[in-house]
Subunit: 223 residues, 2 copies
Amino acid sequence: MKQAPANTRFAAVAVDIVIFTIIDDVLCVLLGIVDRPPHYQNIEACIGGLVEVNETTEAALHRHLQTKTTLQNLYIEQLYTFSEIERDKRNRVISVSYLGLVRQSEDVTSLPEGLRWCPVHELPKLAYDHSDMFAVAYSRLKGKLAYTTIAQFLLPKTFTLTELQRVYELITGAHIDKRNFRKKLLSLDVVKETGRMQEGMKNRPAALYTFKTTKLVELPLLT
Amino acid sequence: MKQAPANTRFAAVAVDIVIFTIIDDVLCVLLGIVDRPPHYQNIEACIGGLVEVNETTEAALHRHLQTKTTLQNLYIEQLYTFSEIERDKRNRVISVSYLGLVRQSEDVTSLPEGLRWCPVHELPKLAYDHSDMFAVAYSRLKGKLAYTTIAQFLLPKTFTLTELQRVYELITGAHIDKRNFRKKLLSLDVVKETGRMQEGMKNRPAALYTFKTTKLVELPLLT
DNA sequence: TAACTTCGTGCCGAGAGTACACTAACAAGT
DNA sequence: ACTTGTTAGTGTACTCTCGGCACGAAGTTA
């Protein structure tokens, strides 16, 4: 792991990413073990790393993601830039943080050693200011859920309406009426039927839908 | 003006702020002349400056604001971090940008030499990537107007309902019905009458209102 | 074929949103 | 003092969206 030089006139710049996914009906974030004595031992944090002088923060983020994980096809957006003096007790580091979402269908379960998916309701205290960072990310996720189609990045490309509804219920923590959810969703004209059905169910199979566009759309989906 | 050292392993970090105010019923942004040949001459930009190693970006922002302007009591929120390699053609600088709002009642018209308030609809091409930065700021302002009480930071502490409505009309560009606006606003319970009236009007004086709290409140004020 | 599970659909009442026009208060000019 | 000009301030009726609610349909298993 690289280390910021001690005596520059400026702070080093890092990137960190809070990655969410849904595993077995539980919202989880990606954590990695940090081993940097004396301040950070036996503690976890979001993954990230330093930004080199000749790369953008986005390029640095993708570089660290490729190096440290096998995740692909993430949705990524910039979150907030943290600059408290003591946020990293070892060096002066300003961190540009990102929010990441990865679909259930991607191969999220085969993580390298030292990484794990942690349910958001069992989150331990994190290293650096990553607990704050997580809070900002979770808040952003909840906010965007209400007025964008961001939920699409947590679902497989094709999904049932019940699965989509479940994403909303998981993240907001509120129960949603099935009929009202469908009425609202279909009126927004953002999803379409694929014509295919679920297979291998032990009950009535549901129709599979897909989003009309893979872009984020701004729409008031919840009130 | 300070300059980033040429041969560090890391980028320098700067802060820049897009400050809005309303002057004579026109939404304006604060611009300063940039004079850094050969790349940036006879061109304007938002104000900002470098971040020292031992200060937060917020501290650096306030320092540069104090040095370069006499503005006080600004509302400030972080906007976005720009890190394109060539965004500053002279040095490698990553910029943490901020959105600023200043009330009409503050002394906004006495600006130091080299600064001016520019109507947003007459904005010239700006130095660095500040045209992009402005676009992000304007978009954020419009967005937050709809679901927060952010308009309060563009008005004097006491104001008439017509003045408040005017802020919304100026920024969204849409006409709003006076009766519906008042009905909605008053139902939200965020403003209260002061009991005082406008003075020195050549027509019927309006009642003066004030926001119940000086904090930003999240509420859907427009649809 | 009976039991079980999830899918998929419609109506109705309440509240919010939208469109719309006139009288009231004040100042200035005659 | 009265007329004119300008902005303040207010209520109603219609429409539409939101939110609550229950049951038959389609498939699997025993």
